[in-house]
């Protein structure tokens, strides 16, 4: 019974009423209890492999309208306003957030079938010319225009920058061409001799 009650509370209560209709989260299976600890917003984002879009780590308001996402994730200024760490979107030119970022909040959902997939792991550190030199960027930069989305105070501690106030990251940290396989550089397009 407790399960059913929490189902009705959690799944049925309107979370926001931005459009004219009320918005609810997805239906659970019949009377499946929802663990309260998965409803918070500070769950680590989850992705299948390096470069895969992370799933949404929290329940979200309005499955239908992706513009809700940007209410919080649009700009870094939100971070101060909300007094809460919210990752800003690193690719502001794309507006259809939910095409790639699907709901991954319900960790109680088991697998449909087991999987053997082994995803590409995180790239490790960039290279440095000497111990005091700034490291290069060890991954692709496409769709990662805002470094602070991941390396700012909202990201994982392990990869957080020690100097978040310096916003011009790419003045010192340069992309490593060998990790940016699909963004050809002008000289690779060079036709004939110089």
């Amino acid at each position: 019974m407790a399960g059913l009650a929490s189902l009705l509370l959690a799944a049925d209560s309107p979370i926001t009423t931005r459009s004219t209709v009320q918005v609810y989260t997805q239906p659970r299976s019949f009377a499946q209890p929802i663990r309260p600890d998965v409803l918070g917003t500070n769950i680590t984002a989850d992705r299948a492999f390096l470069g895969a879009p992370p799933v949404m780590p929290h329940t979200f308001a309005g499955d239908r309208d992706g513009r809700y996402c940007l209410e919080c994730h649009a700009r870094e200024t939100r971070i101060e306003k909300r007094q809460q760490a919210i990752a800003p979107v690193p690719h502001a030119e794309f507006s259809q957030c939910q095409q790639c970022h699907v709901n991954g909040s319900d960790k109680t959902v088991g697998l449909f079938r087991a999987s053997d997939f082994l995803g590409l792991d995180f790239p490790g550190k960039g290279t440095r010319a000497h111990p005091l030199a700034p490291p290069s960027i060890p991954h692709k930069t496409f769709m990662r225009d805002n470094c602070l989305s991941c390396h700012g105070p909202t990201g994982k501690q392990r990869i957080a920058t020690p100097h978040p106030w310096r916003s011009q990251c790419q003045q010192c940290h340069v992309p490593d061409a060998s990790k940016n396989y699909d963004r050809p550089l002008p000289w690779e397009e060079l036709k004939g001799e110089l």
Binding site: V21, R64, N103
Partner: protein, 785 residues
């Protein structure tokens, strides 16, 4: 000469070094695999899933796919993917992949050797060749479809080949062939970048063609104005971006399209010049029809007053006027988009015709930014089902079996004795399964699809499959492999060479990147191996005109390549061999596909692809029938419908009436039921549900109700709701105000979940011209349980 990837790289490197190519081909366009960090190699491929045909880069390390990224060089998606595309590589690695052939013995599927499985199939076909069918899909690669066509139509001599694409875009095909005499769209995705107004006809690209939707909507972020008008029976994610939502009653689309034409002509604001130059008028319900004059057509349209349209379609006169005004505006560029909403329709052919009418009368066709564009669901519904013609009535390259000349051409190209190809059209999908149900067909081979879940009215159409000789080639256990006599484990996507053709006529090629698991083997090999066994058992159809095996291909020294031997097949690029055989088939109807080597070098090319004699460069065609773009247009015509039915270079405007649907809600079954896909899952979910991220996001089916209906019935999210039709019933949790909101009086259920088969409830009524069933409307009752 054959090319494998390594050879190609060598050749490409040489070619690049030569001065001829250096000027025309940037290195990045060579689509050569690029080696990056720690032995990780990236290869190009089209996405495995929808008809958008996004380019992906597949990251392979130690013989396994470890990552998938959007391909920045691919003009379709320019680096972006949707969530299914990113996770396409994960879908290869479900733990329960089929890895060994299975044969049903004493009622149980048991592992057997490939030899035993192939022999069992061949002996069955030999015993009953005339009643053995083949059921495939728009997820067949071009070469898989072509191989089956040669095997069945050129070898077995029966035409019982049909794809699940029959359930998907047959209406679009017949719509195009009746309107301008040839399949496939005139416009291309570039038009989406230029249009001022996008009209969605019962279409939800935000979930079904996500990257195309982004391509349209993200223009707004660049400061461009894009108006979206959504005509729908359900408010969806696409509606959230729409400027206008026009709700209509199912089947009312027929009246809306005629109503727009009526207003255009009545106000005199149609494009007289375009219509006179490029259109003839035609009346009648069939594919032939009879000529009529413009005046007669205008008179015929007078039924479709705004009041009449309001009555049958539930659209307010002001809304109809809004649509008419958009089309009447001579400066406005308009793209109409549709997919299953118009195709899965008991009058699917008619509504396709009618939307072309609207664009023809307004002159908004075959112009940059203006076109009527039929989107395809599957990754190669165009490339395989339509261009190769894997349909009961068709032959490769836009030909039909009923046409003697067409049969003769195919027999010549395949080097078959005259008269080999049967002139009698084969079963279409629904009739194939009806015949299997009745026992008129004794066996069927199913590849790349799951009919025991996806056919309509499952009880009526697929409940007797276990009693027939059913061969199923697949990668995972499915509702259909459960019914099979023989299960063959298949290679999937980048575990084999392949070619797909997307919605905008773009043919995209990829190379095999990893080995299939266990004993899984290519579908092409499976068919050739069975054909070879039949040849050895003495089936006369498995010989060509010279008495050689049907699938005889020779190496440079003239020695036949023994493709039926897996060890040989594995070492050979069979795609290249068979494509060389297929490509000439595409010339007659001016599809003119590019040579294989050009496909290898590019991120796909939109056909017709014709070599520029002056420069030697192969040129693709963004817009068909348009002078300056399409090489087959007669100079001076501007727009040339060169396959026009009346051979006068014109298209047809059809007077197709409104007709009520075969089943409408009544007292006993008061709701409309609509079915469809969701963003996260592909078709019957056999691949995408094995991706943990996708499954977790959308773990089970649901029923969506309109909030007012739900309140009246006291149903809230999570309640169990029983849906009952005249054919079956199903209980699902309700989702109110969730992903979408159906119009009042209608409900929506997705079909991906094998534990909740909504096709037990749907209706098998179909469009009489295209034979495509209507999954979008039938009458159901709703009860909270």
């Amino acid at each position: 000469m054959q090319t494998n990837r390594r050879d190609f790289l060598k050749q490409a490197a040489l070619a690049f070094a030569s001065s001829v190519l250096a000027g025309s081909l940037p290195r990045s366009l060579l689509a050569a695999p690029a080696e990056g960090m720690d032995g990780l190699v990236w290869h190009k491929a089209p996405c495995r899933f929808c008809g958008t045909g996004c380019g992906v880069m597949v990251g392979v390390k130690d013989g396994r796919v470890v990552a998938v990224q959007g391909d920045l060089e691919n003009p379709v998606n320019r680096g972006l993917l949707c969530v299914k595309g990113y996770h396409a590589g994960v879908a290869l690695y479900g733990k329960d992949r089929l890895t060994t052939p299975l044969l049903r013995k004493n009622g149980k599927l048991e592992p057997v050797s490939w030899d035993e499985a192939i022999e069992a199939i061949a002996r069955e076909i030999l015993a009953r060749p005339a009643t053995f069918g083949f059921y495939g899909s728009g997820q067949w690669t071009v070469i898989e479809g072509f191989t089956v066509m040669k095997f069945m139509k050129g070898g077995l001599g029966n035409n019982h080949v049909d794809p699940n694409a029959r359930l998907c875009m047959a209406s679009a095909v017949v719509g195009m062939t009746t309107t301008y005499g040839v399949d496939e769209p005139s416009g291309c995705y570039d038009d989406f970048d230029l249009a001022d107004t996008i009209i969605l006809w019962g279409n939800n690209p935000a979930e079904m063609h996500p990257v195309l939707w982004s391509r349209i909507i993200d223009r707004r972020a660049k400061g461009q104005k894009v108006e979206v008008i959504d005509l729908g029976t359900r408010r969806t994610r696409s509606t959230e971006e729409a400027d206008h939502y026009i709700a209509f009653t199912p089947q009312g689309d027929l009246a809306i399209a005629n109503g727009i034409c009526h207003l255009l002509i009545k106000s005199g604001k149609y494009d007289k010049d375009w219509v006179t130059k490029h259109c003839n008028f035609r009346k009648g319900g069939d594919a032939e029809g009879e000529a009529m004059t413009f005046e007669e057509y205008a008179k015929w349209l007078e039924t479709y007053t705004p009041e009449f349209v309001q009555k049958v379609a539930g659209v307010r006169p002001a809304q109809l006027q809004l649509l008419a005004d958009r089309f009447a505006d001579p400066k406005r560029k308009i793209v109409s988009l549709w997919c299953m909403g118009m195709n899965q329709h008991t009058r699917g052919t008619w509504i396709n015709n009618l939307v072309y009418n609207v664009h023809f009368l307004s002159g908004k066709f075959a112009k940059p930014g203006s076109t009527a564009f039929s989107l395809t669901g599957q990754p190669s519904a165009c490339g395989t089902c339509r261009e190769v013609g894997t349909l009961g009535h068709a032959l490769p390259g836009g030909r039909i079996v009923a046409n003697e000349q067409h049969r003769k051409e195919c027999e010549e190209l395949w080097n078959l004795p005259a008269g080999r190809i049967n002139p009698k059209p084969g079963h279409h999908a629904v009739s194939l399964f009806e015949a299997l149900q009745k026992g008129e067909m004794t066996g069927c081979w199913v590849q790349v699809t799951n009919p025991a879940q996806s056919m309509p009215n499952l009880t009526g159409l697929t409940s007797k499959l276990r009693e027939r000789f059913l061969v199923v080639s697949d990668v995972y256990p499915t509702a259909t492999t459960d019914q099979a006599t023989v299960v063959l484990p298949s290679a999937m996507w980048v575990e084999k060479n392949g070619i797909f053709g997307n919605s905008e006529r773009r043919t995209q090629q990829w190379f095999k990147m990893i080995e299939p698991p266990g004993q899984a083997r290519d579908d092409v090999w499976q068919v050739i191996a069975v054909a070879r066994k039949l040849f050895e058992l003495g089936h006369p159809g498995m010989k060509n005109k010279d008495g050689e095996f049907l699938f005889t291909y020779k190496d440079a020294s003239g020695k036949p390549i023994e493709l039926w031997k897996w060890e040989v097949f594995k070492q050979t690029n069979a795609d290249q061999l068979l494509y060389a055989e297929y490509q000439p088939f595409t010339l007659m109807k001016k599809y003119s596909l590019a040579p294989y080597d050009e496909l290898v070098k590019t991120r796909g090319l939109r056909w017709p692809v014709v070599k520029d004699q002056a420069t030697g460069v192969w040129r693709e065609t963004p817009r068909r029938f348009v002078e300056g773009e399409d090489p087959f247009v007669e100079p001076g015509r501007g727009v040339d419908f060169y396959w026009g039915k009346l051979k006068d270079h014109k298209a047809l405007v059809w007077a197709r009436p409104y007709e009520a649907p075969p089943e409408v809600p009544d007292n006993k079954y008061p709701f409309w039921l609509c079915t469809g896909r969701v963003l996260e899952h592909w078709h019957t979910g056999t691949m995408t549900r094995r991706v943990p991220q996708l499954h977790r996001a959308m773990p089970r089916a649901f029923v969506e109700l309109n909030p007012e209906d739900a309140a009246r019935l006291n149903i809230s999210t999570g309640d169990r709701v029983k849906i009952t039709s005249r054919r079956g019933e199903l209980t699902l949790p309700a989702w109110i105000n969730g992903r979408s909101i159906p119009n009042r009086g209608s409900v929506f259920v997705p079909f991906f979940a094998e534990e909740s088969l909504i096709n037990l409830v749907t209706l098998e009524a179909h469009c009489p011209l295209s034979k495509e069933p209507d999954y979008k409307k039938c009458a159901v009752s709703i009860a909270k349980v």
